[in-house]
């Protein structure tokens, strides 16, 4: 493609949160390519994005999104510059390039070193050393740059991180090898220095990939949050606008089935609201003009017009977001394993190396000999194994979780999850799937079923859906009911060949008031339907598995105590707390934390969000509210609860492997350091020890893949 043409093209990136498998690549690319004005489209399955090259001025990103929507894929225009995505891509490529350069140099220097170790002498050895230096020094300068920068910024802030001893080891090995080469000496550490950089870069790259994956997950979540609303303008026109653009005083229309985007007052229409994500209440409630509604509730049965009272930071949503923020600040104090290890390791090796240097000088060694030994100590103290231990374990664990449909947002979350001793579940939407299930209805052959099937067929109300689903499994053909009307807050009525029929609240349908559930009245006959909040299919097994892992369990719910007890009995969970407000859940978790409990909070509702971010670790199902999903550290998909136990198992395996790797490094160091201090470590031994320990750590990490 000629250059001048390329410069007139425009590119758009789309985020595709739904694509999970390779089967989606083809349809998405074909759908996009079929739009006139699209020159080329390519899906990136790893990042869940599509890059689309457009003829300028011909198509807008919105058209692409609409076309994909018709084909069944949700998409959203994505600005790579907003969340640092572009910078992250750049860093990944930069690290890979440095790995390539370090690998090239390490292999060639190793080739030369083998000649030296096999007995090259005098002028030949000097020549080989000089060539090694010529390859290694520029490569060390370039490939090691990320470590030098990080060490410099740590020192500037008067801190010591893992990169300080690394930088010192590289610098000392380069310097002492150069001196040794100039003096025609026997030992040069060029190979060890560059190999050190190579292994460390691999560790750094793996760490970066895990973090980039977490960022993708976060971007995916925020993409699902971006919604639009239908605004009724002053001139009577209606326009679809982004939720962010809404202002107090404006009027928006909400169709049945939509989620309410802002706090407001109903000015027009009646309907039923599903408040479960906001309050944790499982039952739909009627709403009339003049009542207050909050963002996050779902409008079920009739259209509503709402005058917005609050947007931005004055909504209930923002109130909860503030609680989330405050709770999260407490959690960032968590000390990562890698940092803890670095804090012990970094000063330790400096002191040992310094002591070796001073000791040998004191024992009468020449200063360059003492310097060589100090360099050998720094090189051999195995920062590789330490630097690889955590990233490899996290990479393998993240991959395994991903395959079981669990998305991890941060490596530290995995470490926290392994320490959990109490699992607190929300009820509605977490232990249950948030949909009512019919437990008591008319007999199978009852004439009530065809009528109920006809009345509920078009309704979005969850109870109607439960009845319709049962009618379908019974194979009932709908009766001929005409003039079906849904009366929000009451029920559905219609006309069965001259007989009025009503399905809905008992008092409205004409049964004894106060009866539970829903009543169908056909003429004089009355039939009752009773429901329960349907537990997830594997709830009891999942609770059993968690108990087997030695964990205590509790239910925290905003729902009524009786409903909580029903589920608690089925799951066999004794600790139950009902009727909780979001702030009370948060307080319970804080109390537990004060007692020293490490709690895993599993929840889906807006009301769970503060508790999710205050908990030691947190998970939320994929069906959860946006706020809960972004507050939780892990998100699991699917209808089952089994991923909770699976995630804990993987986290524990990862923690065991990480500790083992530290153990390997410790054992290895306890042998290597005395040898190095005594001056027995030659470049050959350093090279073998370094690659040997790194390999051991990586192989150990791979065991997480199959851990039970």
């Amino acid at each position: 493609m000629p250059l001048d043409r390329a410069s007139t093209l425009s590119e758009v990136e789309l985020l595709l949160p739904d694509i999970r498998c390779a089967g989606c690549i083809g349809p998405v690319e074909r759908t996009l390519a079929a739009i006139p004005g699209v020159l080329e489209a390519r899906v990136n399955l790893t990042a869940k994005r599509a890059r689309v090259r457009l003829e300028p001025g011909q198509v807008e990103a919105e058209q692409l999104v609409a076309a994909l929507g018709e084909a069944g894929f949700s998409a959203r225009p994505f600005d790579r510059n907003v969340d640092g995505g572009q910078a992250a891509d750049h860093t990944a490529r930069d690290l890979l390039l440095r790995i390539g350069v370090a690998g090239f140099a390490a292999m060639n220097v190793m080739l030369l070193s083998i000649s030296v170790w096999s007995g090259a002498e005098a002028a030949t050895r000097d020549l080989l050393h000089w060539i090694s230096g010529l390859i290694a020094l520029p490569a060390m300068a370039y490939a090691g740059l990320p470590f030098y920068r990080s060490a410099a910024s740590a020192l500037a802030g008067a801190r010591v991180n893992m990169d300080v001893p690394i930088t010192l080891a590289i610098a000392l090995s380069a310097l002492s090898s150069l001196i040794e080469t100039a003096r025609g000496g026997e030992h040069a550490y060029f190979d060890a220095g560059i190999m050190l950089i190579f292994f460390l870069l691999v560790g750094r790259y793996l760490e970066h990939r895990t973090r980039a994956g977490a960022r993708t997950a976060a971007a995916e979540l925020s993409a699902l949050a971006g919604r639009q609303a239908m605004r009724r303008d002053a001139d009577g026109g209606r326009r679809l606008v982004a939720v962010d653009e809404l202002a107090p005083g404006e009027i928006i229309e909400i169709a049945a089935g939509e989620r309410i985007p802002a706090d407001g007052i109903v000015i027009d229409g009646t309907s039923d609201l599903d408040r479960s994500l906001v309050t944790g209440e499982s039952r739909a409630e009627p709403v009339l003009a003049g009542e207050t509604v909050n963002a996050g509730m779902v409008n079920l049965t009739g259209p509503l017009a709402i005058r917005i009272t609050a947007t931005g930071d004055r909504t209930l949503l923002a109130e909860i977001a503030r609680m989330v923020d405050a709770a999260e600040r407490g959690r960032t104090r968590y000390d990562k394993l890698a940092d803890r290890a670095a804090r012990i390791y970094a000063p330790g090796v400096h002191i040992v190396a310094l002591l070796a240097f001073v000791g040998w000088l004191g024992a009468g060694a020449e200063w360059h000999g003492a310097l060589m030994i100090a360099a050998a100590v720094l090189i051999i103290t195995c920062p590789c194994a330490l630097a690889l231990a955590i990233p490899t374990v996290h990479t393998v664990a993240t991959g395994r979780l991903f395959r079981t449909g669990i998305f991890l947002k941060d490596g530290a979350e995995l470490e926290r999850l392994a320490e959990v001793d109490l699992v607190a579940f929300d009820k509605t939407g977490t232990l249950t799937d948030g949909k009512p299930e019919l437990i008591e209805g008319p007999a199978e052959k009852s004439p009530a079923w065809p009528v109920a099937a006809a009345l509920t067929a078009g309704s979005l109300h969850p109870l109607s859906k439960a009845i319709a689903a049962r009618a379908e499994t019974l194979g009932v053909a709908p009766a001929e009911v005409s003039e079906i009307r849904e009366i929000p807050g009451f029920g559905i009525e219609g006309d069965l060949q001259g007989t009025p029929v009503r399905l809905g609240r008992p008092e409205w349908a004409g049964a004894t008031p106060g009866a539970d559930g829903v009543v169908l009245r056909t003429g004089d006959a009355v039939h009752g339907f009773k429901f329960r909040d349907r537990p997830r299919p594997d709830m009891s097994e999942a609770a059993q598995t968690l108990r087997g892992l030695g964990l205590e369990m509790a239910i925290l719910s905003g729902d009524k105590r009786a409903h909580v007890d029903a589920i608690g009995d089925t799951a066999g969970i004794a600790r139950r707390h009902g009727d909780l407000a979001p702030g009370e859940k948060l307080r319970l978790l804080q109390d537990w934390a004060a007692e020293g409990r490490r709690v895993l909070m599993v929840g889906d509702g807006l009301n769970d969000a503060p508790a999710l971010s205050a908990a030691h670790a947190s998970m939320s199902p994929g069906s959860a509210s946006d706020v809960a999903r972004s507050a939780a550290g892990l998100v699991f998909t699917g209808a089952n609860l089994a991923p909770v136990a699976e995630a804990i198992r993987v986290a524990r395996a990862a923690r065991r492997r990480a500790f083992e790797s530290f153990g390997i490094a410790a054992v290895y160091n306890s042998i290597a350091i005395p040898l190095a201090v005594m001056g027995f470590v030659t470049p050959l031994i350093a090279a073998l020890a370094m690659s040997g320990s790194s390999l051991l750590v990586v192989l150990n990490a791979l065991r997480v893949r199959s851990a039970r």
Binding site: A22, I25, G26, E40, R42, V43, N44, L45, T46, A47, R51, R53, D89, A92, R93, L96, L97, G100, V101, F104, M107, N108, L111, L112, S115, A120, T124, L127, L128, I131, I135
Partner: protein, 51 residues
């Protein structure tokens, strides 16, 4: 040992070829979608490669 005079340049040259090839694959964005590309090899139809 004079053979080293020929072998070292050759090995360096070959190594640089490898490095050059790696840099080229990197520039061609071949490492950005490992997940998707492993499946694309099984698709029918011609693939022009990453854009």
């Amino acid at each position: 040992m004079t053979v080293l005079g020929a072998l070292i340049p050759i090995s360096l040259f070959l190594g640089l070829c490898g490095l050059g090839a790696f840099v080229w694959t990197l520039r061609a964005r071949q490492y950005e979608d490992l997940e998707g590309d492993q499946h694309r090899t099984l698709f029918g139809g011609h693939d022009d490669g990453p854009m």
